[in-house]
Symmetry: C2
Subunit: 205 residues, 2 copies
């Protein structure tokens, strides 16, 4: 259930154009195939249009930038992975970092794609809009991990879910962007320990 | 004293070439002037060479990439700011975020420059090398903030200085790269509270 979530709908809602589901899926499939077969360097709206037998204007009507289309494919890869729901807060944090962030990016296409989108967003407003909307949706979605632990009575109910998620995501982004995804397991444990200690019920009592 | 630190020396050491201090300063001055007067878009090795009346090969001998030179200028701007040493851990964390990271980047040239270097590092190996070395040095330097609090007996002596610094830096990078430096003060307080709670002596005892 947790895999059928939110952020793509949020983003699509903000585009505000009607889509034809059939052609849309054909375009996404073509985009994914190109990315898998040729990598990021072979990926362009032109190549996707050719492969999907769609017009470039059609693609641009639905995805206002290359980054927006890349993000949709990226998001599809991410949705193949389980979002953690172990019933234990620290295990969920571990799973979040290993499954959805650092482990998801490490050594493969997904990290390369996501780095490139972040980079493009720093100078291209359309890429920035796509990334920021996607990222906002993902962050909101990930907050459930903290909120569930609160609802179970496992952690301090006053814990700031948004900031906890952003500390973890920020740490992972930082590792990605400084080329340090390797050998992060001890450091992941250290992050989990810090967040665990910070959210303990009645700390210091 | 804490202002006369470390990371430039670390980085320069790794370049391993002798520099002539006079020309080097002239080049840095020219680079800074161009950046202040024309912004990032006017900044190029060519423009710096012209203004400093230096040869491009001379500049490249000392700074192997545009990103490396930009980082040196950026670092000069940063050194105009006090590195926090208030005698209190949470105040130091606040000062670190406000003075050296989010507040330093907000609304000005420095944030724009740093974003662009991070972006360039995602596709240009020379920029990556310069950024990663700089960032490693800065992180190492910032750890003193945690280590001093340990030495004062203020926080748990087992606190992981490196990970604490990276959580904070990662949070700030994330804000910078998602265009959310505005209105961060409440969130900075929330970050400080989380790190404060996580490093309390004998938590839960």
């Amino acid at each position: 259930m947790t895999k059928e979530h939110g952020s793509v709908a949020v983003r699509r809602g903000s585009i505000g154009a009607k889509r034809n589901p059939a052609s849309q899926q054909a375009i996404l499939d073509a985009a994914e195939a190109i990315l898998r077969e040729e990598g990021l360097s072979g990926f362009s709206i032109e190549a996707v249009a050719r492969r999907a037998r769609a017009g470039k204007p059609t693609i641009y009507r639905w995805w206002p930038s290359k980054a927006a289309l890349l993000l949709d494919v990226y998001h599809g890869f991410k949705n193949l992975r389980q979002f953690p729901d172990t019933g234990n807060f620290e295990d969920d944090l571990r799973g979040f970092l290993n499954n959805q962030l650092i482990g998801f990016w490490h050594g493969g296409l997904c990290g390369t794609v996501f780095r490139s989108i972040i980079a493009e967003a720093q100078s291209d407003p359309a890429a920035a809009e796509a990334l920021f909307a996607y990222e906002r949706g993902r962050r909101k979605f990930a907050e459930q991990l903290v909120d569930r632990a609160k609802a179970r009575g496992e952690i301090d109910p006053d814990s700031n879910s948004a900031i906890i998620v952003e500390l973890i995501a920020g740490f992972a982004w930082h590792r990605l962007l400084t080329g340090r995804l390797d050998g992060s397991q001890d450091d992941i444990e250290a992050v989990v320990a810090i967040i665990g200690a910070a959210t303990k019920k009645n700390p210091g009592a």
